[in-house]
């Protein structure tokens, strides 16, 4: 627990978390390096890995580096609950995006493009 003044924690803890963040970042980079998902054509594993690494990294930053782990629950809940309404927006927008996409394809005859598009570099 925190001592008298502010947030005081052993330095070793920070170094451990710091190292861990490097490992997690390397993990999420390797998802793309090995083209996980694209090689087999289904994206479930890729998305699962992206989200797991993302939340792990974000969680460690918020909990340890921003000291939220040691704050009192009153503050923790006040900060973590409001973004819930953002999740409602994200969910509904994702749901509606499929519908919008469908109407564009059906009514405007837009051609469905293969995802993703190949890229040719002009300069290197």
């Amino acid at each position: 627990m925190s001592s008298d003044v502010g947030q005081q924690h052993p330095l070793a803890l920070y170094f451990w978390i710091w190292g861990l963040l490097f490992v997690i970042s390397a993990g999420s980079y390797l998802i793309d390096f090995f083209q996980v998902g694209y090689d087999v054509g289904t994206m479930e594993l890729r998305w699962a890995l992206i989200l797991v690494f993302m939340f792990l990294k974000a969680g460690y930053i918020v909990a340890v580096f921003m000291h939220l782990k040691w704050e009192r629950l009153a503050l923790i809940y006040a900060l973590l609950l409001p973004p819930g309404v953002l999740m409602v927006l994200v969910g509904l927008m994702a749901w509606e995006a499929d519908y919008t996409w469908l109407t564009r394809v059906v009514y405007f005859g837009a051609e469905v493009a293969p995802q993703p598009a190949p890229v040719e570099h002009v300069i290197h």
């Binding site: 925190s2 309404v85 749901w95 509606e96 919008t100």
Partner: protein
């Protein structure tokens, strides 16, 4: 103990003013900043009033004035709406009432960061200036896109102000949001971290609950407007296609492709619906205090009132698309949003019941603030009930974009909060200046405003004509009957009268400042802490050496067995026998 390390606010020095300019312009005193906000908001509100006269003139007497062109008409509609919602109502209720009441009612010396608070006002002032830039010669007028600024028409060249007007509007909104964020962070931090001893959350006057919750909504909802303002500016200036679909106008193909106008509507209303409650919640809070004080009775169901405010605040984020039933969104959304909309009516109705029950068998004093408070409840009920019609998809579809909608939102979030603002000014003017406002002028002002606004908006419910039309009867194709014309004309004339009556109010404000009756410390015999300052008007720092200590809630009126019918919050409880 960790908090022992944090100096209590009694020990924190204040920036005392040394010259006229630091006392009245660059002041760090929350009371001066509140008055600055108030004067600016009223001044810009008068512009909005004149704009409403222009459009009512065109609707009531089309063609009477040649200079009211379609461009002028649509620009007036747009600017009237935006000024009233953002630059008057939001700025006044939070900037002025919020600034004045939060530290005083909580027993604090000032806002927690007075410097940031000062900057907040000046940034707000800048946003008002930027908003008005569109009227400068050579700018071709402000935007005429309607206050909702829907793309693609807000950007396309057929809309008035498509060159500069829309840009000044978006820039002004972004700047306003910066100002609001600075002020809002101060209000929230003060409410949460700088209350005086004994002031628990459940002893706070409902004004503070309303202002606080509205500020939370503002801090979480304004980002949506901020982001959409940025994206729309990019669409306009750089030619990105966030909101702009492939489109051709005036025979020319635009370069836009694949944007989603629907996305803008979602973002706008994700801000816009909480915005309704940003305006309504402070009004709810203030009116609760007015009713309780002037009815000499504790507010009925205080805890329920608090939880209703919290519930409305939370729910207001998941009802936004009820503004978009005819926009072509996902067809299943109507069910979801109609349900949440009807759910949010429950806590709102609870508040109305509680106001009514507070008045029930109360020792009502029909002072001017009380008249405005009762008028608020009446107006809010009418406006709220029509909201039930509009919240249901099937009923909303034929009512969309008619004067029924205009009547609904003007009553519920136009007139109703303005009545509270008037009531609040009549109530707190004695504390701000030390003098009472003239009672007779106040009563004349009230009756003209109350009856007049009813005469304006009530007939609109059954006028049932489409809104945002410049002219209804063009040549042979007259779509209005003569009786509708008469109704429109009478509404317009009433609007002139109600508008002129507001100058009576301003005259009252100015004259009473010098010649009003001396008010004394507590003319309304109220309980909350702002009436317990050692001086009236309160000096910089509000309190003497020591901050007050709170022993009770703000609603101990007519307690049986007491000599007086009110017990202020800082009076200690009697020892229990």
């Amino acid at each position: 103990m960790a908090q022992a390390e944090i100096p209590y606010q009694e020990a924190i020095p204040l920036h005392d003013p040394h010259s006229w300019i630091t006392k009245y312009w660059f002041s760090q005193d929350h009371k001066v900043i509140a008055v600055q906000y108030g004067i600016t908001a009223v001044a810009v509100g008068l512009v909005a009033l004149v704009l409403s006269w222009i459009m009512r003139t065109q609707i009531g007497f089309p063609g009477m004035f040649e200079w009211i062109t379609p461009d002028i008409y649509y620009q007036s509609v747009t600017m009237h709406g935006m000024i009233m919602v953002i630059y008057l109502l939001t700025a006044f209720l939070l900037g002025s009432f919020g600034n004045y009441l939060v530290p005083l009612m909580l027993g604090a010396r000032d806002m927690v960061f007075p410097f940031v608070n000062m900057i907040s006002y000046h940034v707000y002032f800048a946003s008002v200036i930027i908003l008005m830039l569109g009227y400068l010669p050579g700018m071709e007028g402000p935007t005429g896109a309607g206050w909702t600024l829907y793309p693609p028409q807000a950007i396309l060249s057929g809309t008035p102000g498509a060159d500069w007007g829309i840009l000044t509007m978006l820039a002004s909104l972004a700047v306003f949001i910066v100002a609001f964020t600075m002020g809002g962070l101060n209000y929230i931090t003060t409410i949460l971290q700088a209350r005086t001893r004994g002031m628990t959350m459940m002893r706070m006057p409902l004004s503070i609950w309303g202002i606080g919750m509205a500020t939370v909504l503002g801090l979480l909802a304004f980002p949506a407007l901020f982001v959409s303002a940025i994206m729309m500016t990019l669409d306009n200036v750089l030619g990105t296609s966030f909101f702009m679909p492939a489109i051709s106008s005036a025979g020319a193909e635009h370069e836009y492709e694949g944007g989603s106008p629907l996305l803008f509507q979602h973002l706008f209303w994700f801000f816009g619906h909480p915005e309704v409650y940003i305006v309504a919640l402070p009004a709810f809070g203030v009116v609760s205090d007015l009713i309780s004080v002037h009815a000499r009775k504790n507010i009925f169901g205080y805890r329920l009132m608090v939880w209703a405010i919290v519930a409305i605040g939370g729910l207001s984020f998941i009802v936004w698309a009820h503004h978009m039933y005819v926009a072509g969104m996902h067809p299943y959304f109507g069910f979801f949003f109609a349900t949440t909309t009807l759910i949010i009516a429950v806590p709102t109705a609870i508040k109305v019941y509680n106001w009514t029950l507070t008045l029930w068998r109360a020792n009502i004093r029909f002072t001017v603030p009380m008249l405005f408070a009762i008028a608020f409840v009446l107006t809010f009920v009418v406006g709220g009930l029509t909201g039930l019609f509009l919240g249901n998809v099937i009923v909303d579809v034929p009512l969309s974009d008619t004067y029924f909608v205009v009547a609904h939102f003007h009553m519920v979030m136009g007139v109703a909060p303005i009545l509270v603002i008037f009531g609040g000014i009549y109530h707190w003017y004695p504390k701000i200046t030390g003098r009472m406002l003239n009672d007779t002028i106040g009563r004349i002002h009230f009756w003209i405003t109350f009856i007049g606004t009813y005469a304006i908006y009530f007939p609109m419910h059954f006028l049932a004509i489409p809104r945002r039309y410049y002219e209804y009867n063009v040549g042979e194709s007259a779509i209005l009957t003569p009786s509708m014309d008469i109704l429109n004309q009478s509404i317009t004339i009433t609007a002139y009268i109600v508008g002129i009556a507001q100058f009576l109010f301003i005259y009252n404000l100015i004259v009473s400042y010098r010649h009003g009756r001396e008010a004394g410390d507590n003319p309304w015999e109220a309980n909350s802490l702002e009436w317990r300052t050692p001086q009236t008007p309160p000096v910089h720092g509000n309190w003497g050496e020591r901050l007050p200590t709170v022993h009770r809630w703000a609603y101990d009126f007519s307690v049986p067995g007491e000599e007086r019918d009110f017990i202020p919050q800082d009076v200690p409880r009697k020892a229990q026998a």
